[in-house]
Every structure is written in structure tokens, then in C-alpha cells.
């Protein structure tokens, strides 16, 4: 198995006015090619910091991240990111937003339009190509952000609580959408979430973090097969995973309260 991302002994200390805060302590992690991994933890456990270090948006105090044999030293196109707050370019139409990365790669116009069209169709935004972000709902905005990240075809897609700002119904629809996309054409995806069900439903592996300092507490291999649907949530196996994960999280949360 090829390892797409390797996190080696990563620690992160934030220097604040009231002293140093250890956000991450000695994180070791390997993510395989075409694997879907979730990092699960309560807020403040440093999971987003870890994702940002992998994305190159934050530097580790100690240790290093290797992405396909290259040491990460900043954000690059090989690691696409999707944020909770969508971060669409408001002066660009849906179509132009999705084309942006391809344009940066100097893909010719007709080709990038074709690719963008495909992803617009994939995320179910056909007919909305020419709208500006301000005219879209939260769920639609996140579809655009997802399509923009996917269209650029990065080696790894990093999702930072991608559905955290959406209401429960929209979130479930988006989870199904992402599940469908990943099962159709697997990509390496690393997702940060605090939603236990979301992590289990979508992932091959769920990494549960503890807080203060952020450490890997538990790694769950999720053996639910490759033909998951929304119904998978109701299976015995799923509920067992949920029980285990929730228990770990509950213990961790009660420690810091």
C-alpha cells in the first residue's frame, strides 16, 4: 500500500500571553492512497490544527509531514482544502469558482469548462452555473466548495468540518453526496469532524483524538464494506462502532469539563 500522507512526531505549541499551550503532542499517522480517514474529537482538541499543519497553512513546532515523498513546507495544489465557512470567491460565478484551480494550472478554456461542468453535475448544481455565491444557500455553497476542491484533482483532499455549518437535514444529504462521490471514484480524503455518525459512515478509519494536549487516543478501522448507503447507519455494526466511538469521546470530554 502506498502511503499518501505521513505525519511524523508532530507537536504544536501555541505561544499565548498566558503561557504556552500544547495543542498537539506527538502525533504519528499514515494515510494510505485512496483511503478516507476522519479525525474525530471535541472542539479544542487540536484536530483542525493538525489538518492545517498537513495542509501547510500552519507549521509544526516539532516533527514533519510528508506528502508523497515531499516534506510539506506550505500550502500546495497537491493538498486541496474545503473549509467549514465555504470560502467561495464571491465575485466569481459558480462555474468560475470551480474553474479557478484549473485556470491556475493553465488548463485551456474549453477543457476546464468541460471539467467544471462535470463537477457541477456531480454535486447536483446543474442550472446554477452562472449564479454568484451570495445567491446560494449554505448547502449549495458547500457543494460548490466541494466541487472546486475536487475539480482541481489534488492528491489529497482535506476537509475541515465541511458540513459543520449546515442544518441536520442538509448535512445528511451532503454526507450521502460525498459518500457517493468517494465510492464512485475513491480519493485520499482526510476529514476533521466532531460528528460521530458522519465520521463512521464515510470513513475507512476513524482517528479519535483527546484534548489538552491533542493526542491520538484510539484508531477504529471501520469495516462496513464499500457499498454503504444512508441505511448503513441503522445496521448493528454501525451502531456498535458508534457506541465505541461515543464512549471514548464521552470520557475525553468529561476529562476537560
Amino acid at each position: 500500500m502506498v502511503e499518501s500522507i505521513v505525519v511524523k512526531n508532530v507537536s504544536k505549541v501555541f505561544e499565548t500571553k498566558s503561557g504556552d499551550v500544547q495543542a498537539l503532542k506527538n502525533i504519528n499517522l499514515g494515510i494510505q492512497d485512496k483511503e478516507f480517514v476522519s479525525i474525530l474529537g471535541t472542539s479544542g482538541c487540536g484536530k483542525s490544527t493538525l489538518l492545517r499543519i498537513i495542509g501547510g497553512l500552519e507549521t509544526a513546532s516539532e516533527g514533519e509531514v510528508i506528502c508523497h515523498d515531499a516534506i510539506v513546507d506550505g500550502p500546495r495544489v497537491d493538498r486541496g482544502m474545503v473549509f467549514q465557512q465555504y470560502s467561495l470567491f464571491p465575485w466569481m460565478s459558480v462555474q468560475k469558482n470551480i474553474e479557478f484551480g484549473l485556470k491556475q494550472k493553465k488548463v485551456e478554456k474549453s477543457k476546464r469548462e468541460k471539467i467544471a461542468k462535470e463537477y457541477i453535475k456531480l454535486v447536483g448544481l446543474k442550472g446554477f452555473e452562472d449564479l454568484f455565491p451570495k445567491n446560494l444557500s449554505g448547502g449549495m455553497k458547500q457543494r460548490v466548495a466541494l466541487a472546486r476542491g475536487l475539480a482541481n484533482d489534488p492528491e489529497v483532499l482535506l476537509l475541515d468540518e465541511p458540513f459543520g455549518a449546515l442544518d441536520m437535514q442538509t448535512r445528511e444529504v451532503m454526507q450521502e453526496l460525498l459518500l457517493g462521490i468517494w465510492q464512485e471514484s475513491p480519493k485520499t480524503i482526510l476529514m476533521v469532524t466532531h460528528d460521530v455518525e458522519e465520521a463512521i459512515l464515510l470513513s475507512n478509519r476513524v482517528i479519535i483524538m483527546s484534548s489538552h494536549p491533542g493526542e491520538i487516543k484510539e484508531i477504529l478501522d471501520i469495516d462496513l464494506g464499500n457499498k454503504r448507503t444512508f441505511e448503513t447507519r441503522l445496521t448493528e455494526k454501525f451502531l456498535e462502532y458508534k457506541r465505541i466511538a461515543s464512549e471514548v469521546i464521552r470520557v475525553e470530554t468529561s476529562k476537560i469539563l
Binding site: G55, L57, F83, S87, F89, W91
Partner: protein, 281 residues
């Protein structure tokens, strides 16, 4: 029978809809009002002012020595425009625009540098903040001493007055661009140079346009002061001239002209901004 009863009871319990008054409906913080109402209220405020003005002048509450009647002012306007007031307006507009455009040409790149790059901010921000607090009008005697009372002196006053404001406000517009937009663009293949042209500038452009609109208003103040202190033409000069000859109505015309020009320019720029940057509004 049961059905009938149910219906009856429904009828009985029908809640009375409380009718809120129009005022309560409109007076909620940040609630939008219909465009027609907004235009009506805008015009209404002018009507009120005109009404009060008419009341105190025609009603002889204050003498026309101090406040001319709207009629007298209108007549004075007629004579002034017949006697070349147009050219005074022209020269003032020319001064404002030359000074302001020069200030813009310098301030836009500087503001972008200060807003985007910390070394430029560290270098220039303290100086501009310092200059910003020195009123441009205080420099007029010095500028007259240095460059005389020609056009360059007035233009210099306008540049000095608007340049620091523009630089600092544009720098803030640039800083207001969300970090997440910049970060996501890096993961989509922009470099530190691209990000300025492709992300920061397009995102901040509507706000920069708004800054320009606001500072242009201030530039008008500086030109009038400069014209009152030392000039032989322009709206400010006409106002001073009218004061010397006790033509209060002409002073009124001068001041009102400034207001009308301001209103037209401001509204025009606002409309253009909304049209050009429709994605933002």
C-alpha cells in the same frame, strides 16, 4: 354532529390577529424598507428643511439680512449663473479633480502595499497616521508661502488632505479580505504574487470604491477652504466675495451648490458601485 361542533369550536377559538402599526413594523433595527418608502423619506427630509426655511423667512422670524427667503435665494442663483458662476463651479471642480486624481494615483498603490505587506505597514502607517491628524487647512499659509496662490497651491492642499486618508483607508480595505479566501486560493495553486491580483484586489475593490467616494467628499472641504483663504475664482471665492458685499443670498447659493454637487456625485458613485459590483450587494 360532532364535526359540526368541532367547526364551531374552531370558529370560536380563531385567534385575533393583532394588527401592528406601520411604525412598529418599520422601526426594527436593520429591517429593510421598500424602495419607494426609502425614496419618499429621502425627499421628505428636504421638504421639511425647505418648509422650515420658508417658515422662518417668510414668517419674518429672522430678518433677510441674516437668512434670505427661498425666493430671494432662487433669484440670486439666477443672476449668479447669468454672470459666470458656471466658470467658478468649473474651476473648483477642476481643482478638486486634479488634486484628488493625483492623490489617488499615489494612494492606491501605497494603500495596497501597506494593507498587504507588513513591512510597508510598519514603515508607512505611523507617518501617514501622523500627517492625517494635521489638518490640511493648517498648511495653507505655508503652501502660499512656498508655491504662491496659484492652482498648484490649491491642488497641493487637496493632495495633502486626501492622500493620508486614502492610504490608510485603502490599507484597511485590503486587510479586510478574509484569511480563509487567501488560504483556499493557495491550495488551488496561487502563489504569493497571484494572491494579491486574483484574490485580494477583486475582493476589496467594492470597498476601495466606497473609500474613494467618502474621501472625495472631504476633498471638497479642503478646496473650499483653500479658495476662501486665497483665490480669485471658484465657489469658495464666490462665497467670500458675497460676504464682503453683504449678499447673504449669494452665500446661500454657493453653499447650496456645493451640497447639490455632492449629492449628485455621491449618488452617482453609489449607483455605479452597485452596478459594477453587483455580486457584492
Amino acid at each position: 354532529m360532532v364535526n359540526c361542533l368541532k367547526q364551531l369550536s374552531l370558529e370560536k377559538d380563531k385567534p385575533k390577529k393583532k394588527k401592528k402599526t406601520l411604525l412598529v413594523n418599520i422601526m426594527a433595527p436593520q429591517r429593510k424598507i421598500p424602495k419607494k418608502v426609502s425614496i419618499f423619506l429621502g425627499i421628505f427630509s428636504f421638504v421639511i428643511i425647505l418648509g422650515l426655511w420658508s417658515f422662518i423667512t417668510y414668517g419674518k422670524i429672522v430678518g433677510s439680512m441674516f437668512v434670505p427667503t427661498p425666493g430671494e435665494t432662487f433669484k440670486a442663483m439666477h443672476t449668479m449663473f447669468a454672470n459666470g458662476f458656471w466658470s467658478d463651479i468649473g474651476i473648483t471642480v477642476y481643482r478638486v479633480m486634479s488634486g484628488f486624481i493625483i492623490a489617488l494615483i499615489v494612494a492606491i498603490p501605497l494603500g495596497i502595499l501597506v494593507g498587504a505587506y507588513s513591512p510597508f505597514a510598519a514603515l508607512l502607517e505611523p507617518v501617514f497616521s501622523f500627517v492625517r491628524y494635521m489638518p490640511a487647512s493648517a498648511f495653507i499659509p505655508l503652501f502660499i508661502f512656498w508655491i504662491g496662490i496659484g492652482e498648484s497651491e490649491k491642488i497641493a492642499v487637496i493632495i495633502l488632505g486626501s492622500l493620508p486618508q486614502l492610504v490608510l483607508m485603502i490599507a484597511n480595505n485590503i486587510r479586510d479580505v478574509e484569511t480563509s479566501l487567501i488560504e483556499v486560493s493557495y491550495t488551488l495553486g496561487t502563489n504569493t504574487f497571484d494572491v494579491l491580483w486574483k484574490i485580494i484586489l477583486p475582493k476589496s475593490l467594492p470597498n476601495i470604491m466606497d473609500t474613494i467616494r467618502i474621501v472625495l467628499g472631504w476633498a471638497w472641504t479642503y478646496v473650499i477652504v483653500a479658495e476662501i483663504v486665497g483665490a480669485s475664482s471658484g465657489i469658495g471665492f464666490s462665497i467670500l466675495q458675497a460676504q464682503r458685499t453683504f449678499q447673504i443670498d449669494s452665500i446661500f447659493v454657493g453653499i447650496l451648490t456645493l451640497g447639490i454637487i455632492g449629492l449628485i456625485v455621491d449618488t452617482g458613485l453609489t449607483i455605479i458601485n452597485k452596478k459594477v459590483f453587483s455580486w457584492n450587494f
